[in-house]
């Protein structure tokens, strides 16, 4: 965003810095309130609605949109698609930051955050799907961290340890895919314990499958979406390889995403058929369901396909943003909008401005760290001493 490109003079009072500064300051105040007066002081959560945007957006959307990490590294290292190589590092960085921020957001949401290691180290509630999620997120965060360290080691000039980590690439990638499959699907399965609270159109025995499949195209769309932003604002940090491969990466992921989305729609259709829920489609909830499934999955899939056929990067980028929006809508529907659908409207949940403010604060923090890292470490470009392996 700084338009002094290349010059040594760095302006402090840029619009970007001012907006970020304000958001971070507000976030600091909210943090203070949360940890001195309790969750109730900043949120609209109540006994009927124990989970709000901090879970629905920060956790569910955060994890889904960070799926680009496992998708890209699997494409490059397992499926042998070398032309995605320049997209791997930014995707791993985003995934790592995404998960780190998810864990940070959890510190706000749970009552006693210092006990977050309890499920793993103190008392293992293995019958809970949340245990599964917690364990996998913990392990995957570790894997992502190790996967990202080569960039930091190159920056710091630690050649030997970098070589060791690079040798682990394949096994780390496979672990990453296994752990991602597990926790992405388990996040959906979290809601299977409450069939009486989630609207039948969203509740299904296939919930874990829906979450896993949608995480794939969420990840791919997020890689495209992110590279759109990075090309606009961080272009000067990219090398020729990155620029040369970017078009191919976008087109390849667009093609894959479009096809996976059609698969997702197929499974959704099967889900409705197998539970015999056709009659709900004509209700108000049914309309809303169709807005999500047709409006925010089927249509962007068509736009992706058109973009791929016409080799039109603009179509692909718009489709990616649209798909990301669709994923967010889906996760919010399941965790908040279609959850507790049977309660009278005065008992329904709507987030407070302070809850939303905290979420905005956490996302902003992510952008700032991403910018800090990419402008310093070899992420969007290769380090001259370490050409592609």
């Amino acid at each position: 965003m700084t338009d002094n490109g290349g010059q040594t003079v760095r302006k402090l009072w840029t619009p970007f810095n001012v907006i970020v500064g304000i958001i971070l300051a507000v976030g600091g105040v909210l943090t203070l309130m949360r940890f001195t007066q309790g969750i109730g002081a900043v949120t609209n959560l109540d006994n009927n609605n124990p989970w709000g945007v901090w879970i629905g957006f920060d956790l569910l959307c955060g994890v889904a949109l960070a799926a680009g990490g496992y998708v890209t590294s699997a494409a490059c290292y397992i499926f042998g698609l070398k032309r995605y190589h320049s997209a791997v590092r930014p995707a791993i960085l985003t995934a790592f930051l995404g998960y780190a921020l998810v864990v940070l957001a959890l510190h706000y949401d749970v009552g006693r955050p210092w006990r977050l290691p309890y499920p793993i180290f103190v008392s293992q509630g293995t019958s809970s799907l949340l245990f599964e999620v917690g364990l996998c997120v913990f392990l995957y965060l570790t894997v992502l961290f190790i996967e990202f360290t080569p960039a930091a080691f190159e920056w710091l000039g630690l050649k030997k340890i970098r070589a060791v980590v690079v040798k682990l690439t394949l096994i780390l990638t496979i672990f990453g895919v296994v752990l991602s499959t597990l926790h992405q699907s388990s996040l959906g399965a979290l809601f299977m314990i409450a069939p009486s609270k989630l609207h039948p159109l969203w509740y299904s025995n296939y919930l874990p499958v829906y979450f896993f499949i949608s995480s794939m195209f969420a990840g791919m769309s997020m890689v495209i979406f992110e590279s759109t932003l990075a090309h606009r604002y961080l272009s000067r940090h990219m090398d020729d390889t990155h620029h040369r491969q970017a078009f191919g990466v976008a087109m390849g992921f667009a093609k894959a995403a479009a096809f996976v989305m059609v698969g997702y729609l197929s499974v959704k259709l099967v889900g409705i058929a197998i539970d015999g829920h056709w009659q709900y489609l004509t209700t108000g909830w049914g309309m809303w369901y169709l807005v999500e499934v047709i409006g925010c999955v089927a249509l962007p899939a068509v736009l992706f396909a058109m973009g791929v056929r016409e080799k039109n990067l603009k179509f692909v980028r718009w489709a990616a943003a649209w798909t990301v929006f669709g994923i967010v809508l889906n996760r919010l529907n399941i965790s908040m909008i279609a959850f507790n659908y049977h309660l009278p409207s005065d008992q329904r949940y709507f987030p407070s401005i302070m809850e939303i403010g905290t979420s905005v604060f956490i996302v902003t923090l992510g952008i700032v760290i991403y910018r800090f890292v990419t402008t310093r470490m070899p992420v969007l470009h290769e380090h001259p001493d370490y050409p592609a392996h």
């Binding site: 293992q124 509630g125 293995t126 019958s127 364990l135 096994i171 672990f175 296994v178």
Partner: protein
């Protein structure tokens, strides 16, 4: 299994606990076996 369980919940906590340990074992064993399997593959 000698342990007697009266609720499905207690049974699941126990069996899933054992399963998680086995899963950890699998994740260690599989790469080691792959290494054993392919160690003598020559590079050509």
């Amino acid at each position: 299994m000698n342990t007697l369980f009266f609720t499905l919940h207690d049974f699941m906590v126990h069996t899933k606990g054992v399963t998680y340990l086995i899963m950890g074992g699998i994740l260690v064993a599989l790469p080691l076996f792959w290494w054993f399997l392919t160690e003598r593959d020559d590079e050509n």
